[in-house]
């Protein structure tokens, strides 16, 4: 995981998309109680929460499809309420399914959406083909979208969502139902898009998957986002490294001689390091002290441990 030194988009002015105090009810059901988030350009931010936490509702509001009852959403300076078309143009939204496009070919689906965003016919076709090629769908260009596999459909859906080159990309459960290979490919694609400077918000249940692709995370429970508290948690979780020595006793003895906080485990210890560089320094110190280090790596999934502890507080 790319370790982030400071919480992403701490300054909302730099954020590609910000949401403040957003709430939304359906009848008597308060789907989103209070959501605040800011996603930064060039970063992948995860939106994590249990089923029914309001993630999809929040994403629909961010995509400009659902009006919040209160709160403001701003995309690149454009207010979603005051200039909805301008704001919508800057957002690419990928719903959890591609939709049933029947006999429409892959090229037609993407071209149609390029034109729907106002791109000229000839450019639209070129742009669509460029995206299909980029996502390894060129061979399916003239085949109906319904023949694609789930993974291919998700890639087509992503091509459709970014056809107008939006600054912000909102992906609702893109990894669900994908096989490991398709997931890995999705991860690569999203990292590439982030490297191009797009701000990406992704919701998912597969926390271990997210661990490897996100820079930051927003946790959402029962309609509310958990900001600083979750960030601190996540930060701490990310700094916990598991060290396994061939001789656990010797390892623990060496650890007792240094200043970092640590706790013993069966095979060695868990050490709280300052950052990745500090982890490397720790390794060097241990080796210098003559400890045979078998493994030194982050403990499990930082997102998962944060999720579980926050969810535990929720109960």
């Amino acid at each position: 995981m790319d370790v982030v030194d400071e919480p992403a988009a701490a300054d909302p002015a730099d954020a590609a998309l910000t949401a403040t105090g957003v709430r939304r009810a359906f009848g008597t059901v308060q789907a989103v109680v209070s959501a605040d988030l800011a996603i930064a350009p060039g970063q992948v931010t995860a939106l994590i929460g249990p089923n029914g936490a309001g993630k999809t509702t929040l994403m629909l509001m961010l995509a400009g499809l659902l009006a919040p009852d209160a709160g403001t959403i701003t995309v690149g300076g454009a207010n979603m309420r005051r200039s909805p078309v301008k704001a919508r143009t800057r957002v690419g939204w990928m719903p959890d399914t591609l939709g049933t496009w029947d006999s429409l070919t892959c090229l037609e689906v993407v071209t149609t959406f390029a034109r729907a965003y106002g791109i000229k016919a000839t450019d639209a076709r070129a742009r669509a083909f460029e995206l299909l090629t980029r996502f390894q769908l060129a061979e399916f260009a003239s085949r109906p979208a319904r023949v694609l596999s789930r993974g291919q459909k998700q890639r087509l859906s992503l091509a459709r969502a970014i056809v107008h080159d939006p600054a912000v990309l909102i992906l609702d459960e893109p990894a669900s139902g994908l096989d490991p290979r398709a997931r890995a490919e999705l991860r690569t694609v999203l990292r590439e898009l982030a490297a191009e400077g797009k701000a990406i918000l992704i919701s998912s249940h597969v926390l271990a998957e997210l661990d490897e692709m996100v820079d930051d995370a927003v946790f959402m429970f029962a309609g509310s986002t958990r900001g600083t508290e979750a960030s601190e948690h996540l930060e701490r979780a990310r700094r916990r490294y598991s060290v396994i020595g061939l001789d656990a006793a010797a390892l623990q003895k060496a650890l007792a001689a240094q200043t970092r906080a640590w706790e013993t485990t069966e095979a060695g210890a868990i050490v709280e390091v300052a950052d990745a560089a500090d982890a490397a320094a720790l390794n060097a110190e241990l080796v210098a002290a003559g400890v045979a280090v078998a493994a030194l790596a982050p403990v499990g999934s930082a997102l998962e441990s944060t999720y579980l502890s926050l969810e535990g507080e929720q109960r």
Binding site: F26, G27, T56, L60, M61, A63, G64, L65, L66, A67, M80, P84, V85, K86, R88, T89, V91, W93, P95, D96, T97, L98, G99, T100, W101, D102, S103, L104, E108, T112, F113, R115, A116, Y117, G118, I119, K120, D123, R127, R160, A161, H164, D165
Partner: protein
């Protein structure tokens, strides 16, 4: 790429272009299949078989008979009937069906406006229903030729048919945008069609029965003291008297007929029928309906001429002439019908636009955004 795209995107897109884009998408989604061609062929075959059978049934031969426009009128009504059956399927599930298929929300998230999306879908549905009309067109032309219908009659009839199909498409669109379930919107659209095409006639009948009331009528009849031994009386031997009896007052319920698509088609078609004294003689089928409806609008005559002896060479009574003139001058019923249908269609389209507009405020219960 980025800046170029954004520059083009920010420029206000032509709404017409958007409408065409949505229409093309809709046609590709719904229409591109062999089944659709099969449906067109089936439709054309049915109208064709109907036309040929009718021509032989009425005339005993294809051409040459004098059918008083029965073939033309019946073929036109048959095409309208079939069109009313087909058109609801084109729009009655087009918005809630797309919601279910997950193909509406991505479109709404683009820069296309709700108006563009709805009008595009309506245009596609109308074009599809016009395809059915086009398949039926040769038989309407054959009907017009066989029945010696004037050219303009045929043209106006086809235009009104096209308009009525648009109205049905619009009603279906409004309902599909307002209801969550595709089954519910389809049933309601058919119910709306049945109301316009059939129930207006039923309610007109019932309304007419309810409108019956004692009415005093002036009667021009042979006087009681006429001596029949002198032979047939002449018009000078008659006199006015008053009688009161129960009569239906269709002038109160005629508007129900005006809402009927079949009546609108019949009334709008120009008729060269000679409508002077020869009630319903020498009339074409559509022309007869036209005058029957206009007469219904006038209500019962305040007089009746029973003095029809030696009638042939006598002049009509001034009252009769006046009645005939009133009937002639009575404004057509079709503008009312077309006006009402235009309101229905426009209202449905406005409702559909409101229901497709994002961001959604209140959601229709039972629907999801995506």
């Amino acid at each position: 790429m980025s800046t170029a795209t954004q520059a083009r995107t920010s420029r206000a897109r032509a709404t017409m272009g958007g409408v065409w884009l949505v229409a093309a998408l809709e046609l590709r989604l719904r229409v591109r299949s062999g089944k659709w061609i099969a449906a067109l062929i089936a439709f054309g075959s049915l109208v064709g078989i109907f036309t040929l059978l009718l021509a032989f049934a009425v005339n005993g031969q294809m051409f040459g008979g004098d059918d008083y426009g029965v073939i033309f009128g019946t073929v036109v009504f048959f095409v309208l009937f079939m069109g009313l059956l087909v058109s609801p399927t084109l729009t009655a599930t087009s918005i809630n069906g797309d919601r279910k298929d997950g193909t509406l929300a991505p479109l709404q998230a683009t820069t296309l406006s709700a108006t563009t999306i709805v009008l595009g879908k309506l245009l596609a549905a109308w074009l599809a229903s016009l395809a059915f009309l086009t398949v039926a067109l040769p038989f309407i032309v054959i009907g017009a030729v066989v029945s010696h219908a004037p050219f303009w009659t045929a043209v106006v009839t086809v235009l009104v048919l096209a308009f009525e199909l648009l109205v049905i498409c619009a009603i279906g669109m409004g309902l599909s945008a307002s209801l969550a379930g595709t089954a519910a919107s389809a049933v309601l659209t058919y119910l709306a069609v049945a109301t316009l095409a059939v129930l207006t006639l039923v309610f007109f009948g019932l309304g007419t029965a309810l409108s019956i009331q004692p009415t005093t009528t002036r009667i021009y009849d042979v006087s009681y003291d006429y001596d029949w031994a002198e032979g047939e009386p002449s018009i000078e031997d008659c006199e006015w008297r008053e009688e009161t009896w129960e009569e239906p007052h269709t002038e109160y319920v005629w508007w129900l007929l005006a809402a009927n698509p079949f009546v609108i088609v019949a009334d709008a078609a120009p008729a060269e029928d000679d409508f002077d004294r020869n009630f319903y003689d020498d009339q074409t089928m559509l022309g007869s309906i036209k005058y029957a409806v206009r007469e219904a609008r006038l209500g019962p005559a305040e007089f009746q001429n029973w003095c029809y002896y030696n009638y042939g060479d006598t002049e009509a009574l001034p009252e009769e002439l006046q009645r005939a003139e009133e009937l002639q001058e009575l404004s057509a019923v079709w503008p009312w019908g077309i006006g009402f249908h235009t309101l229905l269609a426009a209202g449905s389209v406005l409702i559909a636009i409101r229901r497709v507009k994002v961001p959604y405020g209140k959601l229709i219960s039972g629907t999801r955004v995506a």
